[in-house]
Subunit: 225 residues, 2 copies
Amino acid sequence: MRVLVVEDEKPLAEGLKKGLDAEGFATDLAHDGTDGLWMARENPYDALVLDIMLPGVNGYQVCSTLRGEGNWTPILMLTAKNGELDEAEALDTGADDYLTKPFSYVVLVARLRALIRRGAGERPSVLDAGDLSFDPAARVARRGGSEIALTSREMSLLEFLMHRKGEVVSKREILDHVWDYDFDGDPNIVEVYVRHLRNKLDRPFGRAAIETLRGAGYRLAADGG
Amino acid sequence: MRVLVVEDEKPLAEGLKKGLDAEGFATDLAHDGTDGLWMARENPYDALVLDIMLPGVNGYQVCSTLRGEGNWTPILMLTAKNGELDEAEALDTGADDYLTKPFSYVVLVARLRALIRRGAGERPSVLDAGDLSFDPAARVARRGGSEIALTSREMSLLEFLMHRKGEVVSKREILDHVWDYDFDGDPNIVEVYVRHLRNKLDRPFGRAAIETLRGAGYRLAADGG
DNA sequence: TCAGCTCCTGAAGGTGCGCTGAACTGCAGC
DNA sequence: GCTGCAGTTCAGCGCACCTTCAGGAGCTGA
């Protein structure tokens, strides 16, 4: 789990890094808001620990800037005093949790883990056609309840067909979208892969999702065949 | 609410018990570290009040031992003098809060209630996938009943995979999250560690939790394989 | 009915990805 | 020092996947 700690008090920052590393986190440090912002943009962190009082850009600003850019990495804010205002403001600007200094190290780790567990889970959509479904992100195809193992090329083809379910797609289009533009091999490859998909998606279920339109191309039945 | 007070000064201990009982707590007493540890293990307390200066096993040791065993009962430490070292050390060993002697009885009760109220939410949770489980805080992995010894790198990898169980994670993602971002060594390291995990988690049990998706990455079976 | 075409099918290379065992490095404990 | 362990690097190997190919089946129009 990769974590960025943005904290200007160096001893505290170093202590946190040491502790978090020992817990198995991969911890990076930034000592001011500008650096913090930059690093948070450039790297895929699982969580941010963000002090409010920072030289340059302060914690609130870092937080709201990131949120404004569509970055939803979980953020744990460190508020200096036990002021209600601080905490409320932290949550307002888009932080996910806050901790009042001085804080217990155990509590920090626990809250951090909780944040990461909840995580930022924006799920890409699942494509479907009748009882046939395909989740491109998870790389899982299903017919009814059962999961179907597909190779990368088979998935690319299925994804393309599902995006255009109900439409006729020519072999030329398939070649252009599923294979590289500069593919100049045997176009028969499309037929071969259609066959592979049929063997996996249709035959075991006695269905016919992929229809051949002689001279025109193929069509994936919108209802899954 | 059941509370254990571990305190060797008998008058203070008795006074606390009387007061806490009056507040509606069910209070047990232990007068040294050994007894305290034993009682904390055997009974499901909602909180512990733990003096640092104890005959035999001291408060720090009691605290870190319990944490090491995966016991996350909230602990309120009593530090003798107002030394920063004491406080920091208390928190380091896993205490949730501390109080400097002499303390106000009202404050003690208030903090104790606060701890108990927050209590559950702060305990690190255990990740699981079927009969496979991993407690990131205790750093213990188990398959079924048996505990499995893992190195810290193996744990980081397992933790990352378990957080995203059922999803496909690419080697690049694994490198970015489990290794430091400036790691520019051989990406083959991921394969090597996947192999280590398989040797420890799968092979002895004839299972297959970690699936290879050629060209895409790896996936930890949500049901443990 | 036949030719010409498209598409299907099974099998057979190549190739590169991932697996594997071993060696090397650095660090901690004795 | 030596020993053992964790982390990392490396090179060879096998196989899964991709692609090609040739023959066959089936459709279409004359």
